[in-house]
Amino acid sequence: MSDTMNDSMVARSVADQDWRKLASYGTITAFALIFIALSNMPVALDDFDLIADRFSLGDLSLYWLLFVVGLVVGKEVVLEGMAIHAKGARDTVAGAIAGIVGGAGLSLLIILINNFELRDPLVNWSPQTLDKLSVGGSTGSGVLLWLVIGGVLGALGGSMHVLPSRIRQLVTMSAMVVLLVAILETVLSDISESIGLEPLADVIYAKRGGLTIIGVLIIAASAAVYAWWGHSSVKDAKQRFQALEGPERARGNFIAFAIVGVLTLVLPMLVGGIVNELLANVGLFVLLALGLNIVVGLAGILDLGYVAFFAVGGYTTAILTSANRGDSWPDWVPQTGWFVALLIVVLFAAITGLFIGAPVIRMRGDYLAIVTLGFGEIIRLLFLSDWLGGYTGGAQGVTNIRGVNIFGLATVRGTDPQAVFYLVAVFCVLAIYVSWRLEHSRVGRAWMAIREDESVAEAMGINTVNTKLMAFVVGAVLASFSGAIFAAKVGSVFPTSFIILVSIVILVVVIVGGMGNIAGVIAGAVVLIGVLGGPRQPGLLQEFSNFKLLIYGALLIWMMLKRPEGLIPNVRRTRELHQEEFLQDAWLKGEIDTGDEPGDRGEAAPA
C-alpha cells in the first residue's frame, strides 16, 4: 500500500524534527526508567532468564521502554487531506534522540547515586542495582553506556517505521513469540516432557532456565515463517468465522467451545505440579470473576466488597468441615462432608447477599461502590472478631479442613492441585452456563436496562430493587462456590485470606479481560492470575510478586487509556465506549437512517 501512495508523500529532512514531542516523550521515558531502577525491578527480575545467561527479565525491564519510545515518537496519525510524510532517516534519528534523552535519565541516576547519599530515602535501592546499571564497568562508562544504549534502541524503534509493513509484522511477530516462549518456559517444558518432545525442549531451553541462542533462532525463524505465509490465512479464517451468521455461527461457536473444553481437560495432565497449582488458582479466580461479571458487567452495580462472599463461602465450609477436635479452636465442629456443607454455603451466601444488598442497593454509582467497600471489610472483621471467635478462631483462623470427598471415589485437596483444578473447572462451567443463560433472559435484559438508565428502567415497569438484589445474590452464590473450593484446597482459612485487595484484583481481572464478556473474563484471569499471580498466589513469573500491584496498576491505566473495553470485549460495551466510531461505521455501511420519510422502506403500516 505504501508504494502506491508515494506520489503524495512528502519527505522531510533529518533536522526537521518535532523537538517538543521528542523532549516530552524522552523525559517521560527517563522518569519511568529512573522509577523502574529505583523500584529494584532490574535486580529482582534478574533471576528469570529469558535468554540463558545473556538476557533476563531484569534487563528487559530497563531496555524495553527505550525501544518503545523510539517506536512511539515515529508514529504519526494520518489525517485525511494532510500531506503524508514518507518514513525515512528522520524517524530513525527521532527515535535515537528520544532514546538518548530517556537513557540520560539512568545516566543522571548513576551520577546522583555516586555523588549524594540517597540510600536512606530510597529503600529499594541496593548496590546491586548500581552494578546492574553500570553493567559491570565504572561510573563513567555506565553514564556513557546508557546514552549509547538509549540511542541505539531508540533508533531501532524509530526505524521500525521505515521497514515495509510486511517485514515489520514479521519482526514484531518473531520478537513477541520468542518472549512468550521464554515466559512460558515452565508450562512448555512440562508439556513437551509429557508428549515426548523432551529433546526439542532441551535444544530450546538451557538447563538453568532461559532460552538457548539456538532456541531463539529456531523460534524466531518459525515465527517468521508463520508471519510470512501462515498469518494471512489464519486471519482469513477468523474473518470467515466472524462473518458466519445464524445456525452456522452457533455451530462454529460450539466447535470452538468444544476445542477449548478439550484443551482445558487435557492440559492439566500434561503439566507438572507447579503449573497445576497455577491452573487451580486461575480457576478459583475465573469463578470469582464470572460472578463479579454478572454484578458489574451485566447489572452495572460496582461492587468493591465482593470478597465478602468469597469469605462467607470459605469460612462456612471451613467451620462445617474442619476436623479440629474440641481441645483447640473452634468450639463447634460439625464435621460434615463438603457437599453437604456446599448446600449450606449457598444458603448462607444468598442470605449474606440479601443482607448486604438490601441497604446498599438503593444507592447508585459512587456511593454504592464506597458502601460495598465498607461491607467487604465488615465481613472480614466479623470473622476476626471475638464475637464469632468461638466459631471462626479469630486471627488463628480455622485449620485442618478436610478435602472434598467425591462420593468415596476420590478426595480433592490442596496436595493434589490437578484434582482441585478439575473440581474448579466443573464449577466454572456451571458459572459460564449461568452467565450465558441469564444474559439472554428476561432478568438479563432487565439488568442491562438498569445499567443503561436506572430511572427509565424503573419507569418501564422494572422493579429495580428486586432485580438488582437478584444480581447481587447470583454473584454472591458464585463467589461462595469459589470460597468453598478455596477452603478445601488450602486446608485452612484466615481473615488475611480475604483482604480488600482480593476484591480489587477480581475487579481488575474483569476490567482488563473485558467486562460483560465470558471469554474476556477468563482471558483476564489467565493473564493476570496465571502469569503475574493473585493477591497471595504466586504466578508463572514468581519474580514479579513484589511488583504485582505496580504492574496491575500500570496495566489498568494503560487499558483505560488505550482499550477501555478490555482484552476480549463485549460488543455492547465496545459500542458504549466507542459510540462515535461505531456510529460512523454504521453510517458508512449505510445502516444508519438519515432520511425519514413515511413509508421510506416500502410497505405501508399494517392495519
Binding site: 428502567a457 419507569a459 454504521a586
Partner: protein, 264 residues
C-alpha cells in the same frame, strides 16, 4: 366518546424548596379520551407527568387511578397498574437493540425468573416467544421502520424521529391503559408530525389507549385532542376544547404576555 373516569387528580401540589412547581391542580381523564396538556416553558407540565408516573412525590393532594390512589407507589408499580410514559428528552436504552428495548418493557407483564431461564423450562420458552412476538407487533405499528433488519440493531443508530417512535413503541409494550406522551412530535418535521398525529389517533382507535399528551405543536394539539388543559406557573388556567382554550384571554396572556398599558 368518553367512558368512565380513569384518572383523577385532586388538589395536587408539589413544591421544590420554595418553588411551587404545581399548585392545587385538578385534572381528570376519562377512558378513551385524548387530553393535551399545554403551557409555556416551566409551567410544570413535565413535573405533572413525573408525578403521575411516580418519579416525583407530591407535597399534597391525591392521584386516583381506577379508584385507587397511586400515592406512595414506585414508578414500576405505577407502570404495572397500567400507566406508561415517554420522555421529553428521548431516553432509550441506547446500547440495547431495538427489539430488546420493547422486550424489556414487558418486564412487569411477565414473570419468568432466574430458575426458569437456567433450566430453560417450557414456560420460559413460551414466555420468551410471546414477549418477542408482542414486541414485534408493537414495533410494526410504525410500519417497516423499526422492524426487519433493524430489530437487532442498537437503538443508538436510529434517527431522531425513529427514536421518538421507538419510545412510543416501548411505552406501548408495557400494555398500559393510559399512555403519557411527553412532546411526541418535538423535533420532527411537519410531514413526520402529521403522520404521528394520525398514529396517535390510532393508538386510541386500534389499541384502545387513553392518551394524555404534552405538546407544543398546536397543529397536533388541535387535530387530536378531545380536551386541552392549559398550565401556567403550576396552575390550571383553562380547560376545554381546543377552540375554547385558544380564544381564552388568560391563555393568550400566558403565551404572549399582557399588553403594555395593562401591565403597568
Amino acid at each position: 366518546m368518553s367512558g368512565e373516569r380513569l384518572l383523577t387528580i385532586d388538589n395536587l401540589s408539589v413544591t421544590f424548596g420554595g418553588l411551587h412547581a404545581l399548585r392545587d391542580l385538578n385534572f381528570h381523564v376519562d377512558e378513551g379520551e385524548i387530553v393535551s396538556v399545554i403551557g409555556p416553558n416551566g409551567a410544570g407540565k413535565t413535573t405533572f407527568f413525573n408525578m403521575i408516573s411516580g418519579m416525583v412525590t407530591p407535597t399534597s393532594g391525591d392521584i386516583i387511578f381506577k379508584g385507587e390512589s397511586l400515592l406512595g407507589l414506585d414508578p414500576n408499580q405505577v407502570t404495572a397498574r397500567g400507566i406508561a410514559r415517554t420522555f421529553q428528552n428521548v431516553r432509550l436504552f441506547a446500547n440495547m437493540t431495538i427489539l430488546e428495548n420493547v422486550m424489556v418493557a414487558q418486564h412487569c407483564r411477565t414473570k419468568q425468573g432466574v430458575m426458569g431461564s437456567l433450566f430453560n423450562t417450557a414456560a420460559f420458552k413460551r414466555e420468551e416467544a410471546e414477549i418477542r412476538e408482542y414486541g414485534e407487533k408493537v414495533l410494526g405499528f410504525f410500519g417497516s421502520r423499526l422492524v426487519g433488519y433493524r430489530l437487532h440493531q442498537p437503538a443508538s443508530v436510529l434517527s431522531y424521529a425513529n427514536r421518538r417512535r421507538l419510545e412510543i413503541a416501548r411505552s406501548m409494550a408495557t400494555k398500559p391503559q393510559v399512555v403519557l406522551l411527553d412532546e411526541p412530535v418535538a423535533g420532527m418535521n411537519p410531514k413526520e408530525s402529521e403522520e404521528l398525529t394520525g398514529l396517535i389517533g390510532k393508538l386510541r382507535s386500534e389499541w384502545g389507549f387513553t392518551i394524555v399528551m404534552i405538546e407544543h405543536d398546536m397543529g397536533v394539539v388541535r387535530d387530536v385532542s378531545d380536551r386541552v388543559v392549559v398550565l401556567d406557573h403550576g396552575e390550571t388556567i383553562a380547560q376545554g376544547t381546543y377552540e375554547e382554550v385558544s380564544t381564552n384571554p388568560l391563555v393568550i396572556e400566558a403565551y404572549l404576555g399582557r399588553p403594555a398599558e395593562e401591565a403597568s
